[in-house]
């Protein structure tokens, strides 16, 4: 193209043989409607270069790591000899940690089901469109996430440590029924711990997005705490060991 034609002439050519045009007026919204002139670039080649760079970086990292660290292979499987401790893979070890504190149906089934249901329901609970594509939505959102994460990082380890020292299961054995001591009570305590920051934020006139930021952060940070506790601090007999006091012959990282 040598001569520059105005954009409108490109879209609506003046001298064509065409006697018709396919044009439709639409009601409603498309992803780019009302966005004004867009600040876009052609994907070719910048996106492909970006991806090629990531490809090199990721494979190189894995490559070097694989040269340095061997994948574990223990003795052949033996159903008669239980390993001590016997741990689930790291992404399920948080559930195994939960199992230490409450009834298996609650820890192994109800709580994970609730987590997945929460994730699935999330976009239907919160569908405001404000501040989409902005980290934490706003400065206030950033504060909410930070404080909630801090709160969780204090409260959940405290729960694990307290319940480990004064186990509800043992204290209330024979005092109340099992479903109270191992279901209702620990379930209730966890529910209160999760609900507390949500209530605080709600009292301060939060919008739905801010409530979701709080809820997601408590759950996500709790999952991290329980996983870290189960993975790093549980040793032989699946007992809790303070950092640094793990028996020398057991290294949790060997089980990756």
């Amino acid at each position: 193209m040598t001569t520059q034609t105005p954009v409108t002439d490109e879209i609506f050519p003046k001298h064509t043989g065409k006697t018709y045009a396919l044009v439709e007026l639409m009601r409603g919204e498309g992803p780019m409607v009302g966005k004004g002139p867009d600040d876009t670039v052609f994907s070719f080649p910048v996106v492909l270069l970006w991806e090629a760079l990531l490809l090199l970086g990721v494979t190189l990292t894995i490559f070097v790591f694989s040269l340095l660290k061997q994948a574990p292979l223990e003795e052949i499987a033996n159903p008669l000899i239980t390993t001590d401790p016997a741990k689930a893979p790291w992404y399920f070890v948080g559930l195994q940690e939960l199992l230490e504190h409450m009834h298996p149906t609650l820890a192994g089934v109800i709580i994970p089901t609730l987590l997945v249901l929460f994730l699935m329901a999330l976009p239907y609970l919160d569908h405001s469109r404000a501040n989409v594509g902005v980290w934490f939505s706003s400065a206030r959102g950033r504060w909410i996430v930070g404080l909630t994460a801090l709160y969780t990082a204090i409260v959940m380890p405290a729960y694990i440590a307290l319940d480990n020292a004064f186990s509800l299961r043992e204290l209330l054995r024979g005092v109340v029924q099992q479903w109270v001591a191992q279901g209702l009570l620990p379930g209730g305590i966890l529910a209160v711990l999760v609900a507390l920051p949500v209530l605080v934020v709600w009292r301060r006139k939060a919008d739905t997005r801010e409530l979701m930021l709080t809820l997601f952060t408590v759950m996500f940070a709790s999952a991290v705490v329980f996983t870290a506790s189960g993975f790093l601090l549980r040793g032989p007999g699946f007992k809790l060991y303070l950092p640094g006091q793990m028996p020398w012959w057991y290294n949790p990282w060997d089980g990756l």
């Binding site: 876009t40 670039v41 070719f44 694989s66 003795e75 893979p89 997945v116 594509g133 990756l256």
Partner: protein, 242 residues
Amino acid sequence: MALSSLTTRISQSGPWRSFFRHGWPDNPLDRSLTMTSNIFFHLHPVKVSRRSLRWSYSFGLGVISAILFGVLIWTGVLLMFYYVPSVERAYPTMKEIQFSVPLGQFTRNMHRWSAHAMVLMVILHMARVFYTGAYKPPREFNWIVGVVLLLLTLGASFTGYLLPWDQLAYWAITVGTNIAGYAPVAGPPAREILLGGSEVGQNALIRFYTLHIAVLPLLITLLVSLHLWRVRKDGGLAANET
């Protein structure tokens, strides 16, 4: 014949033009055609917003997950040439891979570390999408596809964990499947279906193997394609909106 006229003749020949259906991508039209006429490129939008390209927006976590999945397919196929999914042969073939197959240990390392990394990266990607609010309309459906991808990724890693048939594998899967068995009513039968019996044995090994090398990778491939196509259909990354 001058070099330039030779290249012109080649690039205008029938075979060449049947492979490359566009000119040299140095102008808007050919840059668009490059992206739309190649099966791998066409999963991308033709244009993207500058904001969405910023590293600190997405940290590339979705792309990293997809790359790790690719590394897993590559190294997984190599391992399949040697591995035999039977209770008697599985562990010995693992030893063989480690000690007598050229680069066997290295290939196994790559496969194992990429697997852990993929689970981690997918979880971080989900957190990134949540904190940038990218699950909101019109991306609700793609968020759901993502949640299913998370579950499939966990499943792929978990089923692979059993295959070495060592103590680590055996007891991790025993503990893991016991958790599933705690569900009232549906739990024990679900565990039984997964293991093909009441204990981890040959039936469990062959079921986990089939899920691990065929069913789950196929489902993940299918859903990742759907996922990326939805990213495009939903108007690119959510960073475009602001």
